[in-house]
């Protein structure tokens, strides 16, 4: 039962919470505001910025000058592609470990997790050289492969924790009715597992979208996703705040919206089930 709280206390807490939330969100809000300003207005003092003229101009300039949508498309292909392939590889594995656990299942799970603990910089040199020799540098295929392998342990773990919650009795009933292994997975398990699979997909698309070590090191121009596209603004020429803001807003908007749907899964997925 929720405890009764006086209205006064609730009002004070509300005020504090809203002020802090506003401050934390402010850098994002400010970026969105600047994206609707002209370059000349964007560098003025905050009050002058707010009262200046609003326009969509920066968005057109960003698309025209740097072909924003090509990078956006690279991000979509890389994040969605790597996650979908990881799911295809991970679903059977997670299914097997959740429903036919053997003596060493726990060890295998822990070992998979340990691969995620390896800092990327430890394998930067060989991956870079391999990519160079195989002509994979600056290709979407190469990045899809790397991000797929990088997120595979998280995908398996998330699926495993979701599959674990599906009652075994239902699967046994299906087996008694003569369902084969493949039809058991396809018609019994999958429908029940769809919410878990969807959350796994969502969280891993977000992680892949924002990944900024491999995407920066392994791409140049052709396959550069939005992370690398934005990084190009670190050496500016002339006035660029409004353009940077417009490009940033476009880069984070889709994932911000997806992210708000994934709050709960985030805790579970990123703590590997340690906090639920």
């Amino acid at each position: 039962m929720a405890r009764k709280v006086s209205t006064r206390r609730k009002a004070i807490m509300t005020a504090i919470a809203w002020v802090i939330a506003f401050l934390i969100f402010f850098p994002i809000l400010w970026t969105i505001i600047l994206s609707f300003k002209s370059e000349g207005d964007a560098i003025k003092s905050p009050l002058q910025v707010l009262t200046s003229h609003w326009s969509f101009e920066s968005y057109f300039v960003v698309q025209e000058r740097s072909d924003y949508f090509r990078h956006f498309w690279n991000s979509v292909v890389i994040s969605l592609g790597s996650t979908l392939i990881a799911l295809v590889i991970a679903i059977p594995a997670a299914w097997a470990m959740a429903f036919v656990p053997g003596k060493r299942t726990k060890d295998v799970l822990m070992w998979m997790l340990s691969t995620k603990m390896m800092p990327a910089v430890g394998v930067l040199v060989p991956i870079y050289l391999m990519f160079r020799d195989w002509g994979l540098l600056d290709t979407r295929i190469g990045l899809v492969a790397v991000l797929c392998l990088m997120n595979l342990p998280i995908v398996i773990w998330m699926l495993y924790t979701y599959f674990k919650e599906i009652p075994n009795d239902i699967l046994e009933a299906a087996r008694m009715d003569g369902a084969t292994l493949s039809s058991e997975i396809l018609y019994v398990l999958t429908p029940m597992a769809v919410p878990g699979i969807a959350s796994t997909l969502l969280l891993n698309v977000i992680l892949a979208w924002n990944e900024a070590f491999w995407t920066l090191n392994l791409t140049a121009a052709k396959a550069a996703p939005l992370t690398a596209f934005i990084a190009a603004y670190s050496s500016p020429e002339g006035l660029f705040y409004a353009k940077l803001s417009a490009a940033s807003t476009l880069a984070i908007a889709p994932i911000l919206i997806l992210g708000w749907f994934s709050q709960k899964q985030l805790v579970r997925g990123l703590t590997f089930g340690a906090v639920k």
């Binding site: 934390i24 603990m117 910089v121 398996i156 920066l216 992210g259 990123l270 340690a274 639920k276």
Partner: protein, 290 residues
């Protein structure tokens, strides 16, 4: 019931993942280890060969290594301090009954979804810039001289940026843990006359300890690999004032083309991360049995 047949099928279904992860981990790591004992510079082809521990010796005795180690500790320690303390306070606040709780939560969580290059550039230009940044405008308005954050306090600035990104993560996990606290326990304590502070220190804080440990371990793993924030703000500078271990390895291998030295640094980074990982794995492993 698992039968012999389903066991075999299970093994078959697990093997693709195991094989892929084994290849992904063992092959490149093995190559890094191999390179780390080789004289291998892309600018000096033909000068190969085994050099024993030379690469490690040069990497570990390079003054840049100590700066990088110190900077890595400052970054990881600073971000952990800000996010865990801030996260506990924010979780307590969000756990209160407030109007518009859903919206407040959404606003607080938002920074976690901003890609590192965007948050770093937004902070660098719109906030830290000594001429046009918001902090400069504020300083000017109250009559203070402008402060060039990234040039004069690069590690502090980068720590702030990274902490802003990770605060939502810590808050979210601590809030989830706080909400799993049995409210009857708190009510009983209150009836026994425990004040707000003793309720916090004797009931809530011990309950949060586990979640806080998970936050610390997971963040440490990610923070050790902080890269994009440094690349787009300071490039590790001025000098090497904001070069971390990860960034140093990047500079050595991809900018100076010293594959051998970079590989040795990579192995050292792996060893450091594994020390943290062992503790994390133990906690998660315990949870798996329960």
């Amino acid at each position: 019931m698992s039968t012999q047949a389903s066991r075999a099928a299970a093994r078959l279904m697990i093997s693709p993942s195991v094989i892929l992860l084994l290849l992904w981990m063992a092959v490149p790591l093995g190559m890094t280890l191999w390179f780390s004992f080789q004289r291998y510079n892309l600018l000096m082809p033909g000068q190969g060969g085994f050099t024993g521990w030379d690469n490690y010796y040069y990497f570990l005795t390079d003054p840049a290594f100590f700066t990088a180690l110190k900077n890595t500790l400052v970054l990881v320690g600073g971000v952990l301090l800000i996010t865990v303390v801030g996260g506990i306070l924010l979780a307590l606040l969000l756990d209160q009954q407030i109007f518009g709780q859903g919206i407040v939560r959404v606003l607080v969580i938002a920074p976690f979804f901003v890609m590192p290059t965007v948050s770093a550039l937004v902070w660098k230009n719109m906030f830290f810039n000594p001429v046009n940044g918001i902090f400069a405008h504020i300083a000017q308005a109250i009559g203070l001289p402008p402060f060039d954050f990234l040039a004069q306090a690069p590690m502090l600035s980068i720590t702030l940026i990274v902490a802003w990104q990770w605060l939502p993560f810590a808050t979210l996990i601590l809030l989830t843990a706080l909400q799993s606290l049995d409210s009857e326990q708190l009510e009983a304590a209150e009836m026994d006359g425990a004040g707000a502070f003793s309720r916090f220190f004797y009931i809530m804080l011990p309950h949060l300890a586990r979640a806080a440990t998970v936050v610390i371990l997971i963040q440490t793993i990610f923070l050790l690999s902080t890269f994009a924030e440094i690349l787009v703000t300071t490039n590790g500078g001025p000098g090497n004032a904001s070069t971390t271990l990860t960034y140093l390895v990047y500079v050595q291998s991809l900018l100076q083309f010293d594959v051998g030295g970079g590989a040795a640094g990579g192995i050292i980074a792996v060893i450091l991360a594994n020390i943290v990982a062992i503790f994390l794995m133990r906690m998660i492993g315990k949870n798996l049995e329960a």
